[in-house]
């Protein structure tokens, strides 16, 4: 199947449900409603040969409503085509349906999104934290979580302290300048 054919079949099947289409550098991104996720996912895998779920990422649009966004990156092994679809998750529910039964690899990706962003996945078989330890009280990739961290304590398991930032964060600058000028150092934003 060619790319156009594939995308045509996709838009035909979900004509009313696609909210936004973005074309960028030959890659297509659709925005869908959270309630249509499983329908779209099943169709992509079974009818459109998207057999590989590359990644699930999550975005925290802090201050906006709905707050969270989840991005599914798909790839078709047989046709060599990428497809991406996004959906928004409001903070109150903070949950979407799992796709771990459609693509088993989603199991750990969803656990990571839950661990770092605090988004829950309905129907996930084993929704535990994956990077931080069970009982860690925060979701560290949320925008309202400070870079230096927050103190926490789990006796005999782990603890965290606030990191001294020393005027940081230390950042580099996008530039063609020499590596001396690009050296990571504290660069407070100019107000």
């Amino acid at each position: 199947m060619s790319r156009e054919e594939l995308l045509n079949r996709f838009t035909k099947a979900f004509e009313a449900k696609l909210q936004l289409k973005i074309e960028f550098r030959g890659e297509t991104t659709y925005t869908i409603a959270a309630s249509d996720l499983r329908l779209v996912a099943k169709f992509c895998r079974d009818e459109l040969s998207f057999d590989y779920l590359i990644d699930i990422t999550s975005i925290d649009n802090f201050g906006e409503e709905p707050r969270f966004e989840i991005v599914y990156h798909l790839y078709s092994m047989s046709d060599g085509i990428h497809l991406r679809f996004k959906l928004k998750v409001p903070e109150e529910t903070g949950a979407v349906d799992t796709v771990s039964d459609i693509w088993p690899t989603a199991n750990w990706h969803e656990r990571e999104a839950y661990d770092m962003m605090g988004i829950k996945f309905n129907g996930h078989p084993d929704l535990r934290r994956i990077l931080m330890w069970e009982g860690y009280p925060y979701f560290p990739l949320r925008k309202d979580f400070p870079l230096e961290g927050l103190p926490s304590e789990m006796p005999d398991i782990a603890f965290t302290k606030v990191t001294p930032m020393e005027g940081g964060p230390f950042v580099t600058v996008p530039s063609t300048a020499t590596s001396k000028d690009r050296e990571p150092r504290a660069r407070p934003p100019e107000l």
Binding site: D156, F159, T160, T163, E166
Partner: protein, 178 residues
């Protein structure tokens, strides 16, 4: 009054007797046979492996016997980033090592947290366990690790091992000997 006798010169033991302090002999033995606990947690572990391999050959300094059981180790080489998740495991392994024991913090991360000023990284292993030698670098070259090891050997050679390890016995000896 105790009887004193002049000792006859015995040519058979010439060159076979060395007079030294007990500590000096003990420290000499210890420092030339340091069995490392390779606590490889990040890229520093690659340099640690290079140090152990043929080109740099840590065996020249008596520290080639990497043991993966803490019970058999003398020096823990913390090579890499210590995350909070790993921190208590490192401490536990340190506590499982028999005395006397030493710690080398290898590289920027193990010494200070390095470039990881974040919620997830312990800002230096010295917040949890006592460190004897810090090695700068990101990661340090094998030469730097060897220099750190030699620094540790130097430190060990000045230790008052007998007194540290058997304080009561040392005090009684001092009493008896005046």
């Amino acid at each position: 009054m105790p009887e004193t006798r002049p000792t006859a010169y015995d040519s058979k033991i010439e060159g076979n007797v060395i007079f030294t302090r007990f500590d000096a002999a003990l420290n000499w033995v210890r420092k030339n046979s340091l069995w490392p606990m390779p606590m490889g947690l990040a890229c520093c572990a690659i340099e640690l492996m290079a140090t152990a391999a043929s080109r740099f050959d840590i065996a020249r300094f008596g520290a080639e016997v990497m043991r993966f059981s803490p019970r058999q180790c003398d020096v823990m080489i913390v090579a890499g980033t210590v995350t909070y998740k790993m921190a208590l495991a490192v401490k536990r392994i340190y506590e499982q090592m028999p005395e006397p024991k030493w710690v080398i913090a290898m590289g920027a991360c193990a010494s200070t947290g390095g470039m990881y000023r974040s919620y997830a990284t312990l800002q230096g292993i010295d917040q949890l366990i006592p460190v004897d030698v810090y090695i700068s670098g990101c990661p340090p070259r094998p030469e730097a690790l060897l220099a750190g090891l030699m620094k540790l050997q130097e430190k060990i050679s000045y230790e008052r091992s007998f007194r540290n390890q058997k304080p009561e016995l040392a005090e009684r000896l001092e009493e008896v000997l005046g």
